[in-house]
Subunit: 302 residues, 2 copies
């Protein structure tokens, strides 16, 4: 059991990570711009990591053995091309060095499917080229080449997780799964593109479980965090329609777009399953049912 | 004519860059840890770029239209795997953002042949994969993927120069060309490996000229800075022996090593010659003769 510093701790993935770590008995030092007392961390550090003065010697104050760094710019409208991607790259390198200097030993940082060249469909850590199409993907892929290579120089064991698509409780509104569920539960129509493209979806609780399992392992380098299962995007919506019992509210193919989408993007998960030893608790069907129940409760509370 | 901020201005390349820019009539704001009055800058900023307090608002003080960023860790014994490579990556991103925020418009940052996968021999910007073998090369290649991609977000025109091998006046002692010249001029034997591997050498004055031409152009993205000519390393030593008139002092093949060297690494220079319009002033023979004369004078002054 270790003291773990978690950044982005109040975010979509972060809050699930903090819960998982606490369940495993780790002492969680949670970092976010504002503390969230509803999330069960041993200690909160209310710090804006992009503000050098506010950041100060966060790593020295926490003196954690492990680091799980999730914080990044996440505003859905702007994150793809925001200059903040450069600031987050800087802040991440700074945090990693400070964590090492403060005696840390194990670090997991988090990248994305958006680093990969999608042309081949199946994305494998060791053989798929990187070809990001956004500044977000470019900065993540750049940081992701540095982090594992820097382990020996910093005296750290480092892994870089590439997270694929995800859904689940606390997903920000307006994304695919969250918006379809919310619309259907409220009796509103949900209008979608044709959605023939296949993607790799994992329940956020399993994403968090995979990241925690990776952190607790000795696996270094790049590790995909996905289900390994490709599902057409339209099938996700159709499954929600069936589970909510309102399939007639879906208008699939009504929205334009999708024609130029890459047909298949799925994670090769051999490292995650064989080396880390992680297996998801949710398949898509159970994961969506669980997420719908969470939204029912959340909407009833409003 | 513009105000140009040059970092690493007292270094091997930097001092030649400052002279070139001054010759062209640019107003040079030169940055180094210590000012060097022998180098003809309009203004020196004595700043350690790795020290945030010392750095302060350097870009705001300089208010330059152009940035040529050369500074990086360069200690020959340690630069390959030094954790300072991470600090320089951070400092470079920070400088680029501050330069943009201070109203800058054009930036050239400097990478290296050590970013490339050397397996193919000829290194071309658009087709040769990146496969750095050191933390230095990894950090340079990571920064080099971010910089051109960040141009639009920062409102900058950005180029990333990949410099191949170089030699010339002010080369630090102990490197191939500097050590062979110094030994032979002093009448000492020079012991070398077999040196069959072919590499791409450019006189530092031409490297500086290419960087200045690139800065003054509107070319964006990645641009190799090399001669485009492959020369066996042993031929460089043999040419020095002939030009100094002491070929008998060379013991080529006496040192071990070289057996596992990649046989050929040469720059594809179409972008540099056609798009930037730069052509070197020195071929290898004239460049070595010029360098030997500089060393004769330098050694006579000691």
């Amino acid at each position: 059991l270790s003291r773990v510093l978690v950044t982005g701790a109040s975010g979509f993935i972060g809050r699930h990570v903090v819960s998982r770590l606490a369940e495993r008995g780790h002492e969680v030092h949670a970092v976010a711009r504002a503390a969230d007392p509803a999330i069960p961390a041993a200690r909160w550090h209310a710090v804006d990591l992009l503000d050098p003065d506010a950041r100060g010697d966060l790593a020295g104050r926490a003196r954690a053995e492990m680091l799980l760094h999730l914080a990044w710019c996440a505003d859905p409208a702007t994150y793809r091309e925001s200059p903040d991607n450069l600031a987050w790259t800087e802040a991440s390198l700074e945090l990693l060095r400070a964590f090492a200097a403060a005696g840390g030993s194990r670090a997991v940082l988090v990248g994305s499917v958006f680093e990969y060249d999608w042309a081949g469909g199946i994305c494998a850590e060791s053989t798929t080229a990187l070809r990001p199409g956004t500044l977000y993907g470019t900065c993540k892929s750049a940081l992701g080449t540095i982090v594992p290579a820097a382990g020996p120089a910093l005296g750290l064991s480092c892994a870089w997780a590439r997270v694929f698509w995800l859904y689940g409780p606390h997903e920000p509104r307006g994304r695919l799964v969250s918006s379809v569920i919310e619309n259907l539960l409220e009796g509103r129509p949900a209008s979608l593109s044709a959605g023939a493209q296949e993607r790799d979806f994992l329940h956020v609780s399993d994403v968090a479980g995979a990241l925690v399992a990776l952190l607790d392992s000795e696996v270094e380098g790049h590790v995909n965090v996905g289900s390994g299962v490709a599902v057409p995007v339209r099938a996700v919506a159709e499954r929600i329609g069936a589970l909510v019992g309102r399939p007639e509210l879906l208008s699939i193919g009504e929205r334009p777009g999708g024609a130029h989408e890459v047909p298949l993007v799925v994670a090769h998960v051999e490292r995650l399953t064989r080396e880390v030893g992680f297996h998801p608790a949710f398949d898509l069907d159970r994961g969506l049912a669980h997420t719908i129940e969470w939204w029912r409760t959340a909407l009833a509370r409003q």
